[in-house]
Amino acid sequence: MSQDNYRQLHSSKSDTGSSLPVRLFFASALGWLIISSVLGLIVSLKLQQPSFMSGCEWFTYGRLEILQRNAFTYGWIANAIFGVNLWIMSALARFQFKDTWLAVLGWLGWNLALTFGLGAILLGHINGYALLEMPKEVAPALFISFLFAALWPAVAFVRRPTGHVFVSQWYIIGASFVFPVAFAITQLFVIWYPASGVLQALIHSWFIQNIQLLWIGSSAIAASYYLLSKESGRMISAYYLSTVGFWTYFLFAGWTAPATLLGGPIPVWIQSTGVTAMLMMLLPVIVLGINFFGTLSYNRGFSGAWNNTTLRFVLVGIASFLLSSVLNIIFSTRSLNAIVRFTDFTVGLQQFVNYGFVSMVIFGAAYYILPRVTGKFWPSAKLVHLHFWSSTIGGLGLALYLIICGYPAGQTALVSYYIPVIGFVLLQCVGHVAFAINSLVMLFASPRTPHDNTHA
């Protein structure tokens, strides 16, 4: 990186008061990423060798798997999303965020509540619903912390006296609003005052789809829009379509919930509504595909993206988004869903979304944001390379391997099986450690003299 680039980097450094909370969110996200990676490693070892650590109740497979999933979602993804959304809002709005302490309070509350909740899971205090497993007493703390960490900053930025509301901001506002509403409603009707019978499962599936598509997915879409435009230096292709994409995405996402319960004990008309909504999701997916890939499709955009660290991660992310979305839609049709439901195919598809799309975009965002927040360069280009290839081969390889092996497993008469994935998980861990070392040095080491080692 030349001296000019260095000055440019510093001049574009966000000076909107969000620097401290963004650093804190990224630092804790890294911690949770490492914890969930180690847990993932243990879980895949236990699946392959069930007797491994089976003498201690704390380390039963079921408990550790739940722990890993929660640490990954509420630890890694949530903290990283808080940081990325906060930074993008402040960078787009060019607004002095005065209430930094509120976001810091949110960070503290969220991570304390999460630590307590995960500790409780380890001790066996578990609810039976995915991503609602933490004890109910933790939920109010998570809810209030979210308001401080995400909703208030988003509202404050968008309600600034003047200025345009950009497409990334629509998605961030949507994400920041959907989580507390969906979380509160679901906690109330599934955990605190449970609805009767299978309605609980229906509400839970509605929660999962809202969380997956409208909170996590929307945040990653917002970051993709922002980073593609900023780093490629181009206007978003077919920008006028983005309004259609946004509203159809939000309109249909919640209705897709029953498509995740096909064949289950809920009325068939509700299941059919879910499948129809899932098919309708093709519309926003096409629009997002046109917006994302159209932006990169001319003037050597793809090769340019491949040579840019941030865009290389984002490119893998948006490709995963498109592919996983299409697979999700195709395999929500009844005949195909009958084969793959309950198999590792669905686990692979989830990995495709949460890792291939969301985590890769977050990694790309980190490579863009952290130098601007800290005013430093990435300490090691080799570690960046190691991170990219380990995450791509390990993370996407794991997703594809589970998808490919899970499909035939759904057709067999086997009632008990496992697919060995330890190699992929180990590779992912290597990438995460490389990323964590690079990031932590950047976040906590003293400033360095600029020299050309920032880019992979």
């Binding site: 408990r63 506002i173 019978g197 009325p267 009958a338 309950f342 008469a413």
Partner: protein, 183 residues
């Protein structure tokens, strides 16, 4: 789109629409489901869970069994659950009306347990499986649920007994108005 309030109102509408459309209409259809006799004049199903089974449900939750085992049998046209012997008929909404917290599950590393109580031959068989799963099974041994008494014999703890009582209570081998058993 520049109006923040309009965006927020639109997002709120999308949430309300899906929640109302799916869940409130679901409540209208399913909210008043009650128990029903399997045959005219017979006892009402689903049966109330015995007290020990309720404790066992808690053990099932604590051990995270729901991670690997589902409790729902899909109809014959939607998967091969019945062909695999998971149950004699598909699960229906009425089967779950007494459950305070559903444990439907969403992934299977092991078999579905909706009708496990009817499949298991004896308490000893279930205890044996929990202590030492069959070779090739992906299930770990739950030895910590058992103690060795002064005579050197392995005895189930109260938690193991409760868990077995719960597993035995899982049955859908009765007629439901929505899903009859094949004669």
């Amino acid at each position: 789109m520049k109006d923040f309030n309009l965006i927020l109102a639109g997002i709120f509408f999308t949430l309300v629409a899906s929640f109302g459309g799916l869940l409130i209409s679901g409540e209208v259809q399913l909210g008043s489901l009650g128990r029903a006799p399997a045959e005219e004049g017979g006892p009402l199903y689903p049966l109330n869970e015995p007290g020990l089974a309720i404790q066992g449900r808690q053990v099932y939750l604590e051990l995270g069994c729901v991670t690997c085992h589902t409790q729902q049998v899909r109809p014959a046209g939607q998967g091969n659950d019945i062909a695999k012997g998971f149950g004699p008929r598909p699960s229906v909404a009425r089967d779950y009306i007494l459950q305070s917290q559903l444990l439907l599950g969403n992934h299977r590393n092991g078999p579905d347990l909706a009708n496990y109580g009817a499949r298991a031959k004896s308490d000893e068989e279930i205890h044996g499986h929990l202590r030492a799963p069959a070779a090739g099974s992906t299930m770990p041994a739950y030895n910590f649920l058992y103690v060795v008494d002064k005579n050197g014999k392995t005895q189930p703890t109260e938690r193991a007994q409760a868990l077995v009582a719960y597993l035995k209570s899982l049955r859908i081998d009765y007629n439901s108005p929505e899903a009859k058993l094949k004669q």
